[in-house]
Amino acid sequence: MPSPADLLGRLVRFIGEVLGASSLRFEIGTTIVLLGVLLVLLQLVARPISRWVTADAAGLAGVGRAMALAAESGTDAVVSLGGGGITRTTDALARLQTIASLPLLGHVARAAARSGVPLRVLVNDPIAASLAAATVDAAHEATATLERQGRTRIVIVGEGRPAIAGLAMTTRARPAAAFAFGSLREEALLHLDGLRSGAGTLTTVSADAAQAPSLRLGGGSALIGPELFQAGADLRSSVDERTMVMAGNRLIGLAVAVVAIGTVLAMAGIIDLGEILVGVARE
């Protein structure tokens, strides 16, 4: 029976033979680098968290406190899933943002269910409404508060982005906490103004780059750009996960430093990246 070291040796030899015998255009070293990049990408896809930073920028960890205040004041909380929807005729990134917002809705819904606070969820698409309803139901099931399920309302505000902004601006109810997750476009500031008016706290999370100033001016906590896709990881804070995040951050910092130094060296003419990576020297 071969020892583990023997097996490992055979495996390394096998990979070396396969790479050596391949008809790839690249050399073995370059191929290993490319495979390493692919491995990192796969790891990014499959790893349990997608978080780069350990700061809770949007205050999502403090949702429980906002819900406790809402319970004390006897008001509700409102969550808007933005204007992207899921089956609306808009771009894929806007619809992806709605999907990425569902874990955040689940987080808020669990806190609301525990505190007995009714939720109002605003959507402008029937499929998004069904997914939001399923998410809220799952939150009640997870917190064993099914008797409070009937107090939550999923509101389909109608087709179009102006409709959801108009409703947010004209609703007379004043929620204790307001959340806007997902795609916000040119209507962003109107939407956030409407939600903010009278609400105790406002949290906005959107990956629409052009609306970053609106989120910043809208008041409250904001997660901007790619932070929407990382925000799911802000909802958990176990020691293991934080350690992984910090280790990941250091590796990313190292990679950025290598890229920066490589770029400087290439610009100074000390090394030729084209020759190293693809074996073709710069003319």
Partner: protein, 205 residues
């Protein structure tokens, strides 16, 4: 349907669509087309059901005299007007002039009026943010003010210098930040989409 079955279905469909994206194969394209068409049909059915539910609820509000009767009446009348315009005998559906008129004369002005408020809202939000002492807001409003000053239409060498400076500001400083943001969104969006299509959820979902 149990949860593992749903997850398996999501993974299968996700892999199928990804494979169709990567590999040019007519059979694969046909199967992926069927899956996409089925999703579109489900979405259309859900939209119809949501519309019917809305009308039923509003009619119930009117019948039982509860809620907002004016709003309910407007919703029912609006749906009825669109249905009559688009489905009356001889109508050409969504391209019918009556449907187009309803859209152009009612919905578009409502939307335009709403967006007309943006200028006022933006100025008010900027004032409020600066008054609140938010550091990010102060930086944002200062940068905006500088950009607006650079865009002043002045003649002569000062105007030319301002024009060059605004070009540099928009093409270098603003564009580089914006592109960085877009690259980050694209990367994490791709990762998130791949995770969703492969049925990989976060631990608390």
């Amino acid at each position: 349907m149990t949860r593992p079955t749903i997850t398996a279905l999501v993974v299968l469909v996700g892999l199928l669509l990804l494979a169709d994206l990567l590999v040019v194969n007519s059979a694969l394209q046909d199967v992926a087309g069927v899956v996409v068409d089925a999703a579109i049909l489900v979405a259309a059915g859900a939209a119809l059901a949501a519309g019917a539910s809305l009308v039923t609820r509003r009619l119930g509000d009117l019948w039982r005299r509860r809620g907002d009767p004016i709003g309910a009446l407007l919703v029912v009348a609006g749906v009825a007007a669109m249905l009559v315009a688009g489905m009356r005998p001889g109508s050409s559906g969504s391209d019918d002039p009556a449907v187009q008129w309803l859209l152009a004369a009612l919905l578009i002005p409502i939307g335009a009026t709403l967006f007309g408020l943006l200028f006022v809202s933006t100025v008010a939000a900027a004032r409020r943010s600066v008054a609140g002492g938010s550091r990010e807001a102060v930086v944002l409003v200062t940068a905006t003010t500088i950009t607006v000053l650079l865009l002043l239409p002045l003649a002569g060498s000062i105007g030319s210098w301002l024009s060059d400076a605004s070009g540099w500001m928009l093409g270098t400083a603003v564009a580089s930040v914006f592109r960085g943001l877009l690259i980050g969104i694209a990367l994490l969006g791709a990762v998130y989409a791949a995770r969703t299509m492969l049925g990989i959820g976060s631990a608390d979902e």
